[in-house]
Amino acid sequence: MRVRLPLGALTGSIIALSLCGCQTLGVKPWQHDVLARPAMALVSEPMDAAIDDHIYFSKEAASGGRGFGGGGCGCN
């Protein structure tokens, strides 16, 4: 059962929308207290994530796709 989903076009439009439409979304630079917590990092447990990717890469056909960057303390 295949779902026809133009993944590339979908992501592209979401990115375009977020760039121009997200002036109101977000927090002030001095309100990153919760986001700065290590548990709120996008990949908060890199070792576990790498090991899991390992395991599922070997046992399943799909793999990867995880991203990086963004969030956090927003410092510097």
Binding site: W30, D33, C73
Partner: protein
């Protein structure tokens, strides 16, 4: 660099720390009494009322206003630098003020326990001061000259910029 209220007991260290307006107070006994009173009140050295920051009394001095938070990683580097600035350039009229924007004061105090501030700390949990000063990133330092004008704004703190920052402060101090 870790001089703080721990060193209050030894008088020479005290004098090194409190080189600001206190040094203008001539009566030695009164000065010592004031130092002991502040020591008695505990860290941080100068606890000021929240939020409101009146810079008018500081006219004639150079103000280094720094916006920091306990969760701001580069602030662990900026504190030793600001301590040094306050200690070395204080006599020439520099006042370093750290504006804390933590929501919980306990978090700020935990940070100050491991990274003591040898400068004035102001607490602004509602974030009115960073809003007023147009802070766009953390940390931010704002340099105010002797006539009360905002002359420089630095977003972020980088170790490699310390010399440039010091030179900028010294330039403002030279202008009397």
């Amino acid at each position: 660099m870790t001089l703080g209220l721990d060193a209050v007991a030894s008088a020479p260290a005290c004098r090194r720390v409190y080189q600001g307006p206190l040094s203008e107070i001539r009566a030695p006994h009164f000065r010592v009494a004031l130092i002991l009173l502040v020591a008695f009140l505990g860290r941080p050295p100068w606890v000021v009322a929240d939020e409101s920051l009146d810079l008018a009394p500081l006219r004639g001095r150079v103000v280094y206003l720094d916006f920091w938070a306990s969760w701001c990683t580069p602030c662990r580097e900026s504190f030793p630098f600001m301590n040094r600035l306050q200690n070395e350039l204080g006599p020439q009229g520099l006042v370093v003020i750290g504006v804390n924007v933590d929501r919980n004061r306990a978090d700020a105090q935990e940070f100050l326990r491991t990274h003591p501030a040898e400068f004035r700390v102001v607490y602004d949990p509602k974030g009115e001061l960073p809003e007023r000063f147009g802070v766009r990133g953390m940390p931010t330092s704002v340099l105010i000259d002797r006539s009360g004008r905002i002359t420089l704004r630095h977003e972020g703190f980088f170790l490699k910029d310390r010399e440039t920052l010091t030179q900028q402060v010294e330039t403002l101090l030279e202008d009397r």
